[in-house]
Amino acid sequence: MPTAVSLKKGKSPRTRRQALIGAAYIAPSFILMMIFNVTPIFLSAFYSFTKYNMTAAPVWIGLDNYARLFNNKVLTESLSNTVRYVLITVPSQTVLSLLIAVFIAEHMKNRYGSFLRSVIFIPVIVSLIASATVWNIMYQPKGGLINQFLEFLGAKPVNFLGKKSSALPSVAAVAIWKASGYYMVIYYAGVMNVPSDVREAAIVDGASSVQRFWHITLPILKPITYMIVTLGIIGSFQVFDLVYKMTGGGPGRSTYTVAYVIYAFAFQDKNYGYASAVAICLLIVILMIHLIQSLFFKEKDA
């Protein structure tokens, strides 16, 4: 495909025409992405230096919003909750999806495997709000499916979403349930791409299935793991819908996450400038984590 550089060099009219046609093809999505993805980032950056409630014109206040971030207890709590949430969801969904993918690829290469893959993928296509509603009902202290099961086992009912200790893990469990199917499919494709000659050679050499997993499958899946961990961290740092629908940040502030407080600051407190400052900081934090992560993986590769 001709690039902007080749266009500048102007090789031939045909190449130029092809480049223009290529540009025309990508223009609609490029324009939409600029309008809906990139422009809001710059607008947020601008609003983060203002006091703005959406009814009056924004007033420039310089770095005041950023200065106020450092002594905001609510923000500190939400950051701590978000980190906890990331630490619960990312390793769990990564390991779970990997194990399921390897299990299906190695032991269920038949129609039951295909059926299982489809079943595990179903949560991915279900709307997040619908999932949250169903899980809310299942978590109900009285009459909820999970508590009915616990009672059947002779245990006392648990108020999963109403207790500080269990609210965040309960929300995280739904996120893991929802995301694992998606990552499982990616891992499954990766496992199926492991060269069969390498695997067969290992079998001939007497490697056990655990050894094959550790020394062949896992290293080959490293780029996929990197991608899944990266996507998982970014997604988990931005968790909002589940929290909003399932707990509203409660009980107390035990499930406040950074994305949730951005919403609360902006739309409940009508403090759009301050919320934008938090959003920009969240963007920087995610970029930094991504940078550290890519450096870590590069170093390991080296």
Partner: protein, 412 residues
């Protein structure tokens, strides 16, 4: 052939444009109302669609009624009123921010004197920067307490224990002597601020609290606030509150089943309790350090300022008048939810016991005031009270943290 096809396509395009233009002539009105049907009666959507069917025909318009959930209702309304595609007519809970930011239409020029006179609370409503009234205030009524006379008798309690300490003692005695629960309120993992309406403000008033200071600013960090929170904490510390109660309906269901001694609920629940064979009686409120205290609030109906930009203002006001008319509210009262009458032309009357009790306690009924960022303030207060129940904050810290958050974060 190609020409014919091109001509046909052009014709089709023209016809579709004409039909769009024709459709544009018919105005569309959007009405936002929260859910009020919580029992098995006629659903809200069906009720309001039925109300607007003749209106649509008469005014050659389409009325889109959207029933919204109560959760985060105020945020939805605020952002909706900023939007060009938002509602024309809207049910309003907290009006301060909407009025001060000019999001509601001044109604004085649209309503006749007779129409204004028909609204019982018209003069108490807020005015905009031009001095025009912007809402039709409703009377939300006073939430009453109910007690189960049989449970009290079984527990050996002769009279209703109205003093705070006596009430706590009764709540501890009842489970011991009857195996039933004393008192429940929804301080669980609820979202929104419904718990505050029934489970904070009344006690705050009973403790002698006043919501606004002399400058009209919210001020709860005082002796009354502290006493209220210490009282609420006692319910939790003594094991009276059940943390698994996450909605108001759960405590009402328990009372209706004869398993709960005290409950605070809407007045119309009395019928349900009677039908379930509960031997019940009303109580106006508990008696705190400063005396009795119950809360009332005035929700309202209003028209969006943006309705004027859309050319829908006159039609929207017409719809507002229809919604708030005595005829519609009579039906709403009997088919959907009990709300005290707020127009002179309403034919239904107050429950006799309600009238007697509120009449005897006129001075003890406090209006939950409107102030800047009220919904956010209440959400923060509720979160902090929940943290107090979880042992993370002391009552004084609840007050300090809430007021600090309000000053730093909410107050513009």
């Amino acid at each position: 052939m190609k020409r014919l096809l091109a001509v046909l396509l052009c014709c089709a395009l023209l016809i579709s444009c004409m039909s769009v233009a024709a459709a544009d002539e018919k105005k569309t009105l959007t009405v936002w109302i929260p859910q009020y049907q919580f029992t098995g009666g006629i659903p809200d959507q069906e009720f309001w669609d039925g109300v607007f069917d003749p209106f649509e025909e008469e005014n050659n318009c389409e009325v889109k009624v959207e029933i919204l959930p109560w959760s985060d209702y105020n945020t939805t309304v605020y952002t909706g009123l900023l939007n060009n595609d938002g509602p024309d007519v809207v049910y309003v809970t907290d009006n301060y921010d909407l009025v001060t930011n000019g999001l509601l239409l001044g109604l004085d020029g649209y309503l006749t004197d007779a129409e204004k006179d028909n609204y019982l609370l018209w003069s108490t409503g807020p005015v905009d920067a031009n001095g025009e009234h912007v809402i039709v205030p409703m009377d939300d009524g006073v939430a009453m307490g109910f007690y189960n006379k049989d449970i009290l008798a079984e527990a050996g309690i002769d009279t209703f224990p109205e003093e705070w300490d006596a009430f706590i003692e009764a709540c501890k005695t009842i489970p011991e002597k009857t195996g039933k629960q004393g008192f429940l309120q929804n301080w669980g993992a609820t979202t929104g601020t419904s718990a505050l309406m029934l489970a904070f403000w009344p006690y705050y008033f009973q403790a002698g609290g006043v919501m606004l200071d002399e400058n009209g600013q919210i001020a709860i960090n005082n002796e009354a606030g502290l006493k209220t929170l210490e009282f609420l904490k006692k319910f939790y510390d003594e094991g009276i509150f059940d943390e698994t109660i996450v909605s108001e309906s759960e405590s009402i269901e328990k009372f209706a089943a004869g398993e709960l001694a005290f409950v605070v609920a809407d007045l119309n629940k009395g019928k349900t309790f009677t039908n379930n064979g509960v031997n019940w009686e009303y109580f106006f409120s508990l008696k705190g350090p400063a005396g009795y205290g119950a809360r009332t609030a005035t929700d309202s109906f209003a028209v969006a300022a943006k309705a004027k930009e859309r050319g829908n203002d006159e039609l929207a006001v017409k719809a507002l008048v229809l919604i708030t008319s005595g005829a519609v509210m009579d039906r709403f009262h009997s088919e959907v939810f009990y709300l005290p009458p707020f127009t002179k032309d309403s034919s239904y009357t107050q429950n006799e016991a309600y009238t007697t009790l509120t009449g005897a306690h006129t001075a003890d009924i406090y209006v939950v005031s409107e102030f800047e960022g009220k919904a956010s303030f209440e959400k923060e207060l509720q979160a902090n009270i929940q943290m107090m129940f979880m042992g993370d904050l002391t009552p004084q810290e609840v007050l300090d943290n809430t007021m600090a958050y309000y000053t730093d974060q909410i107050k513009q």
